[in-house]
């Protein structure tokens, strides 16, 4: 026996099964990200004055990534419209663009993560702090080299205000004997980076998950078009709804993490 309302909508609700299913799923996703945004607010408001980082993320890179994701949203909806207009060739082109844009987004995000994981805060025995990106860190060498700067007060590291006064970074060689502590800018470094990696990491997982579905529907899954184009178009609509939700989450993540 066939499952009813897989393609045609129910008479009373006007909806097919998958449409109800994806909206229920997205409702649960709103609460998932809502809980994390709530955590962000609690951490930010609860941080001591001067200890919530500002200017730690690269705004131009974040802006480009936002534009990439917005562009992927229009290509997704255009792919659906192409299916609706019986233009399978155009669908293929638009969905390939979405896939490429998704990969671009993940690549840029990976670059940003790499930038954080190669960034170190080095506490010295004389009380100073050396902060910057690692250049040389061979276990056998008696020196560590970073491209960065020295500060006396940890608070100087928090409010960078990079846009107003760019810091001059130079190569600094630090003898290992002088190093008291050395920690990279990973999620464990402070609460800002913990919530940054949690929010953007979960979002990136959604992007990767969505890209896998889009890749399937563009490749092997597109065979359904030959036998049941209406059902295939519905699948494109459903995957598109998920993709737009991922875009929607980023619309809030970008200003919250990068700009304010």
């Amino acid at each position: 026996m066939d499952i009813p309302y897989v393609v045609q909508p129910r008479e009373d609700t006007g909806l097919y099964n998958a449409k109800v299913g994806i909206w229920l799923f997205l409702a649960s996703e709103v609460m998932l990200f809502g809980a994390l945004f709530s955590s962000y607010i609690l951490l930010r408001v609860g941080a001591p004055a001067g200890y919530w980082p500002r200017g730690w993320l690269n705004v131009p890179v974040g802006t480009v990534n936002t534009l990439v994701l917005i562009t992927s949203s229009i290509t997704t909806v255009m792919a659906w419209a192409a299916c609706k207009m019986n233009q399978f060739g155009r669908f293929k082109i638009f969905h390939a663009c979405t896939l490429l844009l998704a990969l671009t987004f993940v690549s840029i995000k990976s670059y940003e993560y790499h930038d954080k994981f190669t960034h170190y805060e080095i506490g010295l025995k004389d009380g100073r702090i050396a902060d910057g990106h690692i250049v040389e860190n061979h276990p056998q060498a008696d020196h560590v080299v970073i491209a960065g700067r020295y500060v006396q007060d940890r608070r100087d590291l928090y409010d960078l205000e990079v846009r107003k006064a760019p810091h001059h970074h130079e190569e600094i060689s630090i003898p290992r004997a002088q190093i008291e502590s050395m920690e990279r800018y990973g999620p464990w470094h402070n609460t800002y980076l913990a919530i940054y990696f949690t929010l953007t990491g979960l979002h990136a997982l959604h992007v990767i998950g969505g890209a896998i579905v889009i890749g399937f529907l563009w490749g092997p899954g597109s065979k359904l078009w030959e036998t049941d184009p209406e059902r295939f178009t519905n699948r494109i609509e459903i995957s598109g709804l998920f993709w737009h939700f991922v875009d929607l989450v980023w619309i809030f993540l970008f200003p919250v993490l990068y700009l304010i």
């Binding site: 609700t13 709103v30 802006t63 229009i74 019986n86 737009h244 875009d247």
Partner: protein
């Protein structure tokens, strides 16, 4: 697909493109506004979230077709909005609810 339906979708495509340009513009405005010193950082936060809200409306309303969606979906989302607003309200309320003798910054 009838030619009437195709015309209908073609009209939608024009609308999608307008929304796309608005989203690009909104992104640039968000970045630009973050550079303006409003005097109080809370105003910068409010402006950024207001623009983000507008962009979210465009994505949800037009790309996700919520403007023309069925009542059942609107009903389902009404529950989501209720609980989401409740979550944020509880978060906001928590700032005014400290046990006595709590050290605050």
């Amino acid at each position: 697909m009838t030619s009437q339906n195709q015309d209908h979708i073609a009209e939608h495509v024009q609308r999608y493109l307008c929304v796309f340009y608005a989203l690009l513009f909104g992104t640039l405005i968000t970045v630009g506004a973050s550079y303006i010193p409003f005097g109080n950082h809370a105003i910068n936060i409010a402006v950024a979230l207001f623009i983000a809200g507008g962009k979210a409306f465009l994505v949800a309303g037009f790309f996700m077709h919520l403007i023309s969606e069925r009542k059942m979906i609107h009903g389902l989302l009404a529950f989501t909005v209720f609980f989401f607003v409740g979550l944020m309200a509880l978060t906001a309320c928590s700032f005014a609810d400290f046990p006595r003798m709590t050290v605050t910054h």
